[in-house]
Symmetry: C2
Subunit: 214 residues, 2 copies
């Protein structure tokens, strides 16, 4: 059983849901840094995220000792270490596969690049779209996937094809050496061990809004 539309089976030492919480920690720490704060307690961090201080300390304890008893965490140091742990201290090259409506929206989304995610390639299987330039990207045939992934050092695949093509595209990404896939298609794909897939899930967002209007 899996709690989300994700797959990963390596490093059992750190549970996947803990890893999924870390970007939220980074975001809160960045907000505190921008507000001019230097030190934060697990109580304050817990208060921001509505988590118990014990839960915060347990999550962080997977990665070593960050704070001093009774002194709180050095915000800059903790943020820097969490960014390093998450691999956010560098940039990552990504490719979008499926240049229909959704894919075009994704490549024009301005939120990726400031966070270090650079979309360097776009692929489609439709000959009418291949060769066109969309958001400064020349759309390539999906048959060139493996070659371009290697040449451009692409590490992340973003899947925006229709549901009936998604598993095939994900297989091709895995074949090309990609181990990290952001999947917009509403299915839970099969992937081998060592490949992680995250699904974009607007339903979860809707389900936590109806509380307020029920």
């Amino acid at each position: 059983m899996s709690t989300t539309n994700n797959s990963y089976n390596s490093d059992p030492l750190v549970p996947e849901v803990v890893i999924q919480r870390l970007p939220l920690y980074v975001r809160v720490l960045t907000q505190f840094t921008n507000a001019g704060e230097d030190v934060i307690s697990s109580e304050q961090l817990g208060s921001m995220l509505q988590m118990t201080p014990a839960q915060i300390r347990k999550d962080l304890s997977y990665f070593g000792r960050f704070g001093k008893q009774g002194r709180g965490y050095d915000i800059a140091m903790l943020e820097g270490q969490l960014r390093a742990i998450l691999g956010l201290d560098r940039t990552w090259n990504a490719a979008v596969i499926g240049m229909g409506r959704l894919g075009r929206a994704v490549v024009s989304y301005p939120g990726f690049a400031p966070e270090g995610f650079n979309i360097l390639a776009a692929f489609d299987s439709n000959d009418d779209i291949v060769g066109k330039t969309i958001s400064d990207l020349k759309v390539e045939s999906i048959s060139r996937l493996t070659k371009s992934v290697k040449e451009l050092e692409i590490k992340i695949g973003i899947v925006t094809v229709p549901i009936d093509q998604a598993q095939g595209v994900i297989d091709a990404l895995v074949e090309a050496g990609i181990r990290s896939i952001l999947n917009y298609a509403p299915l839970s794909p099969q992937v081998p061990d060592g490949v992680i897939v995250r699904g974009i899930d607007p339903v979860l967002s809707l389900q936590s809004m109806t509380y307020y209007i029920r």
Copy 2:
């Protein structure tokens, strides 16, 4: 400061991040039900979500007493009560505003209806698109927003317009009486008290994948 691209300022008794976790609880409980289980402990639930049993009990304690000491939770009852709390025991009518690439992808997404979210209307400001039928929806002029929202009892607005139009569209939705907005545009919109906005945030998903490939 806010931890996410969300806004809400009512009912301070239950923190918003707790509400945001409840759909995950529902999802896990549904999985256990489907696996034929009847009873679940806070330890088991915590194990699935990698949360401490104390955190689970604290989250649930906002809504009353669900379990008996040492007996665990009745899964069907807890799932039913959480669904009722979240307003998931009924259907909700939604409208999509912005019928470009992203909007068209959203209205054709098959994941909403099975969870009770019915997209009944689509709007655009472009005269070339208004009047067309897309995924069985006749695209309406945004000038008809207030009228259609009332007639169709629409409670949720899904914003898929470009970033430079998003705040204006969100203002129009609020004006039309919508209090629950799913926002795909990468900005944190201004909304009055009592209106909740959730942003779809693929960056958070990417940031928790790079851990595995860094």
